[in-house]
């Protein structure tokens, strides 16, 4: 049964995304609080979560807005910060060849760090499953709904988040929970170590360019290690 297979994949995507949401929801709330603080109206703050749908770019936009940066600078910075999504796009593209443009458009819109990280692990494990795009849709929609909802909660709460709570730490914790189980062989471990070192050395570069160079160094080390 095609339908029930699709349905099972969809639900399995939602289920695997749920633990990630523990890390995402505090971020959506903090974004909502910061956006109002930077002078955005509640409607604008909420719309940005739907239109941009990328946490770090939204945080940056709000910060630049707070200091009255020119629009063109804000737009360029947002673009560069989100360039890492091109890497995700390239990495997930071979799994999407058979989909029609409607599906590709929808899944590209949902291609965030957190949906990608969950989906690519599933895709690499079940690359022959004909309904695996439903898994991505489930994971992506679960994230989308919680991002919009947590933004709204942040907007309503205003500045009532307890200041001593290090909620931003949920981001690295979420990614630790996704990366560590994926370090299965020597090549992936060496790639991760190289990327980690480079990310610190290149941390001074602006607009997440350190992140891109760290990824490139890590990828090269991984390839080199596979060759040997």
């Amino acid at each position: 049964m095609r339908t029930s297979d699709a349905c099972r994949e969809f639900l399995s995507g939602v289920k695997d995304e749920l633990p990630i949401l523990i890390g995402v929801i505090p971020f959506g709330m903090i974004y909502g609080v910061l956006a109002l603080g930077a002078g955005l109206s509640p409607g604008e703050a909420q719309a940005m979560s739907a239109i941009v749908f990328a946490g770090s770019a939204q945080f940056m936009t709000v910060q630049l807005a707070g200091i009255g940066a020119p629009a063109i600078l804000t737009i360029l910075t947002g673009f560069v910060i989100n360039l890492r999504h091109a890497l995700y796009s390239g990495s997930i593209a071979p799994h999407m060849r058979q989909l029609n443009l409607k599906w590709k458009t929808l899944l590209a819109y949902l291609l965030t760090d957190e949906a990608y990280a969950v989906a690519i692990i599933h895709y690499q494990r079940e690359s022959d499953n004909a309904n695996k795009h439903w898994y991505f849709l489930g994971a992506g929609l679960a994230l989308w709904v919680s991002w919009q909802t947590s933004t709204a909660v942040g907007i309503f709460m205003g500045a009532k988040v307890p200041p001593g709570w290090p909620l931003d730490f949920t981001l690295p914790l979420t990614f630790i929970a996704l990366v560590v189980p994926a370090l299965k062989n020597r090549a992936s471990i060496l790639a991760a170590i190289a990327a980690g070192f480079t990310s610190v050395l290149a941390a001074g570069l602006p607009y997440k360019l350190g992140l891109l160079s760290a990824a490139l160094v890590g990828i090269l080390v991984g390839l080199w290690s596979e060759e040997k």
């Binding site: 523990i22 999504h85 914790l173 979420t174 630790i176 990366v179 189980p181 990824a215 390839l223």
Partner: protein
């Protein structure tokens, strides 16, 4: 913010085009094997490059001391993730460790 709707629509459109880029492109173009192998390393490298600075950098300065609560809590989370492979446990113990260590250190 100056022109908020213009800014968010422009960033939204550019982000969407970035996300769609290879997905749309690959329809008519088969990536060479070396590129496909390279892209296989994207998840671990990008996510590690997001994690590590969050643990070892403090206001842009390297802090590898054992009094850095984020480094210790991150280390605990890595061990928990390695042993349990469970996302919830990793986040909860890591967050609990950070709250505790911030009080002690």
């Amino acid at each position: 913010m100056m022109h908020p709707w213009l800014v968010m629509c422009a960033i939204g459109l550019l982000t969407f085009m970035t996300r769609l880029s290879f997905i749309a492109l690959l329809e008519c173009w088969q990536a060479p094997a070396i590129l496909r192998r390279a892209l296989g390393f994207v998840p671990v490298t990008v996510l590690t490059a997001i994690i590590v600075p969050e643990l070892v950098l403090h206001d842009g300065m390297l802090d590898l001391a054992l009094t850095n609560p984020r480094l210790l809590a991150g280390g605990i989370a890595i061990i928990v993730s390695w042993k349990t492979k469970n996302v919830v446990w990793t986040i909860v113990t890591g967050m609990g460790a950070l709250l505790l260590l911030q009080k002690i250190l």
